[in-house]
Symmetry: C2
Subunit: 467 residues, 2 copies
């Protein structure tokens, strides 16, 4: 036990950078784009503004780049900048709200990769409003990997015209690619899930791409959705009870759970022997379990629909028509359900057939599965993802697709949730929670049935034409 | 930014228990078995003893179990028990040595799951030697999830007969299954990679299985393997330089890297302009990069072979013959190579054909891929694993297998390394590091070629018989 040590989170991820998604040169750069773009989209939407993102990727040498990423979000206050960029597990997305970020790792991971491959500091420029006044600061930062803390090397005040964040990072051991796994394709798919965003990207050859916004409608702000009684666990109740400022059980329940009215609390009181005027801190495990059991026998309204913001059936069809020009398309946005812990989620599914649907491999069109989570494209770890699994376990022959691998078919799946159960901190695949798997199957079947009608009608028309 | 928070590692994993592999009832229980068994095997091997593990799984109700796990390892000293079982990222496996554990998360994850599903404390009994004297303690522990620390609820001294650790944990929301994903199958596969272990398992029906040891040979103890100069990064050198107690560059290099003799240091001095008598702390990034570049132009002996302990070609064939009774088998243990950072690894591959090879699905035998890492069976996340990918990218038609999915074929792959690049903290799939992918392909091709000869010979014999 002389070897026994405790690592900080940053030390752990330094040893295991593949768990941040930084595995291989192309994937590493695409993941950096992913982390910075998702942060800018989250930030702009929280502030209720249409996101404008400017990205400039300059090639300095073989596998050596300088990345500049700028947004028009609300900015980051000076005191928070070191924590945001140099502390792992630090963020503002730990509440029960749908957001792309949820781990407090993303941009700190980018700073770590930059530092590990080049030894250079990160340059952060942030313009933000403080008490109505516009403030600006430019900082040069390094991560103290042993301590999981930021070191401010230089700092200067600047005079900004508007709010936003600009990040400048050097990288080696990464590679820009136009392939399916590369940064360009990642941006293109981001636009499908985020038609209200505008991204201007200058690639290493100096070529400038403007991904124009297809919609000027700011998506509604996601709302906090409290855990649903049907599925909340005894451990959740105990944890809430320990850390609440409420003085009684009854107010803890009505304030911490969705669909818990005073009427429901009265119903619960009749079903259990618990004194709901007690202090929350006195809740015992047995009482928490009794409440969870009673919840199972009570009726509750389904989880609130307003808090989760799906992409929307019409928008999915529009986006896919634009890039795939298919002969047939059908999309669906399902109703909210919950998975383990009363966590609400919505599945959206679509199938596009014919035209440019599917992925062209040589001469043949092969089926393509496009996965999204909270409107963010998932590019890697497809094989272990529950969204993939749910799609592949259908009996596609029943829907007119003889061989799922080889068809001019693009299948689109999006999950939105206040807490997406990713399989790893790389956030590229989703855990096979039974309720989610089941719902992905149901949603895919719903649109596959429409495809079946189309294929049959097409076949019938062909038979007709032959006669 | 009023929402801005820093989470501890235990808080993070409480929110994301699927990242510890605890996703779904069957998988969660199998992962608990995995974490406790791997800890006991590591502990026994470090102490140079043949591992004896006793597991008793008692069913208390639907999806409700009490697990007792006991080993004959060297035990855990009293002062370390709370850290071992209640602190995430705390362990003794962070050095450059091949071991099953490498994250400091495993058994703390089990305690967290137990506490989250039942509210019950963990009961740990540890008997260990201190200054040649046998000591014993029995503790009741709970995890303070907010602080990532252990709380000792009760403690008593006991009089042990020998050394070892016994863990008693209550679980709900888990399920024991005889399926391929269940705990029984996990133990069975563990025996293939660890023929020197003996595991006695009493299942929930009271039925007792004794998995006897097939070999009384204690595998040699893995040795620390320092990073190899070919592949070590500038960041590694800077990190070593910052945290070393050596007084000069030259002694830092010879003591921190493998295959760095004084002769090699002299050669390096000629290739660079660096003063190797400097203090390590004065090493600049530019100097570190210069050293890394110079290493690329120098010749070094391959990484040491003694530190890594593969299962061994003969043992793999023996183990697979025993459970599959195939008509053909071929195995190979390849030479050590390195991947990113100069980390050494060895790939072992085997193919078994005919007999009971492959997995019986209805009437048909389907190809089965058995993956191992540091002698530990990997059961889940097969789709995203580099070992799977390496196997599937072969052109199997060339080797006589027309359809890789449907053949009476079991393919075995094991990777051993001082740092296995797992894709997630669940440690069930391996990151697609280019050198590893390449070597899995090469190793599989090597045994597939032998299979091809066998299939051809069999076909020729059939043709002969027809005439
Ligand atoms: N461009 C930005 N504008 C405003 N705030 C930002 C920006 N980028 C990051 N932040 C803030 O910094 C926090 C940490 O970001 P980080 O990417 O590390 O974690 P996250 O987005 O919360 O979670 P994840 O690891 O899942 O991405 C965010 O929660 C947000 O509060
Ligand atoms: N049965 C045991 N006997 C002796 N020591 C043990 C035993 N179980 C755990 N330990 C010690 O406790 C440490 C922590 O164990 P834990 O499973 O949390 O992490 P790990 O095995 O180091 O890594 P991983 O998370 O990859 O399993 C181990 O490194 C080991 O030193
Ligand atoms: Mg983020
Ligand atoms: Mg372990």
């Amino acid at each position: 036990f002389e070897e026994f040590q405790e690592l900080t989170a940053s030390e752990f991820f330094r040893k295991n950078r593949q768990m941040l998604g930084f595995s291989g040169k192309i994937r590493s750069l695409t993941m950096v784009f992913h982390e910075l773009i998702t942060n800018s989209l989250d930030a702009a939407e929280e502030a209720g503004i249409l996101p404008n993102i400017k990205i400039n990727l300059k090639r300095v040498g073989k596998d050596h780049y300088i990345l500049e990423h700028e947004d028009n979000g609300p900015g980051i206050p000076e005191d928070y900048i070191p924590k945001v960029f140099c502390t792992m597990f630090a963020g503002s997305k730990f509440r029960n709200i749908q957001s792309r970020g949820q781990q407090g790792l993303g941009c700190s991971g980018c700073v770590l990769l930059s530092q590990m491959t080049t030894g250079k500091p990160a340059t952060i420029t942030s313009a933000y409003k403080e008490d109505g006044e516009l403030k600006g600061v430019k900082m040069s930062l390094k991560m103290d990997v042993k301590k999981n803390k930021g070191l401010v090397l230089e700092k200067e005040e600047i005079n900004p015209d508007g709010t936003g964040v600009r990040v400048k990072l050097h990288f080696k051991e990464v590679s820009y690619s136009l392939s399916e796994q590369g940064a360009y394709e990642y941006i293109r798919r981001t636009m499908i899930g985020n038609p209200h965003a505008q991204i201007t990207f200058t690639d290493p050859t100096g070529k400038k791409y403007v991904f124009k916004r297809a919609s000027k409608v700011i998506p509604p702000l996601p709302k906090e959705i409290l855990p649903h009684p049907r599925g909340v666990t005894a451990d959740d109740l105990i944890f809430m009870a320990k850390h609440t400022d409420k003085r009684r059980f009854r107010s803890l329940l009505t304030s911490s759970l969705s669909r818990m009215s005073t009427k429901k609390v009265k119903e619960l009181e009749k079903l259990t022997n618990i004194d709901f005027n007690k202090r929350p801190r006195d809740m015992t495990w047995e009482e928490a379990e009794e409440i969870v059991e009673a919840f199972k026998r009570m009726d509750f309204m389904a989880p609130p629909t307003k808090g989760l913001i799906p992409i929307g059936k019409d928008q999915i069809e529009k986006g896919m028509k634009e890039i795939l020009n298919p002969e047939f398309i059908a999309a669906t946005t399902r109703r909210p359900l919950t998975y383990r812990g009363g966590v609400p989620f919505i599945i959206e599914a679509a199938v596009a057939y014919g035209g440019k649907a599917g992925r062209l491999v040589g001469e043949q069109r092969k089926t393509e599965i496009m996965r999204f989570a909270n409107r963010v494209p998932l590019t890697f770890d497809q094989g272990s993802c529950a969204l993939t699994e749910g799609v592949k376990t259908l009996d596609w022959k029943r829907y007119g697709i003889r061989d799922l691998e080889n068809a001019p078919l693009t299948i689109f799946i999006n999950i939105v949730s206040t807490n997406v159960p990713y399989l790893s901190t790389g956030k590229q695949s989703i855990a096979p929670e039974p309720e989610i798997l089941q719902e992905v199957r149901q949603a895919t079947m719903q649109v596959a049935r429409k495809l079946q009608k189309h294929i049959r009608a097409k076949k019938a028309a062909k038979e007709e034409a032959k006669r």
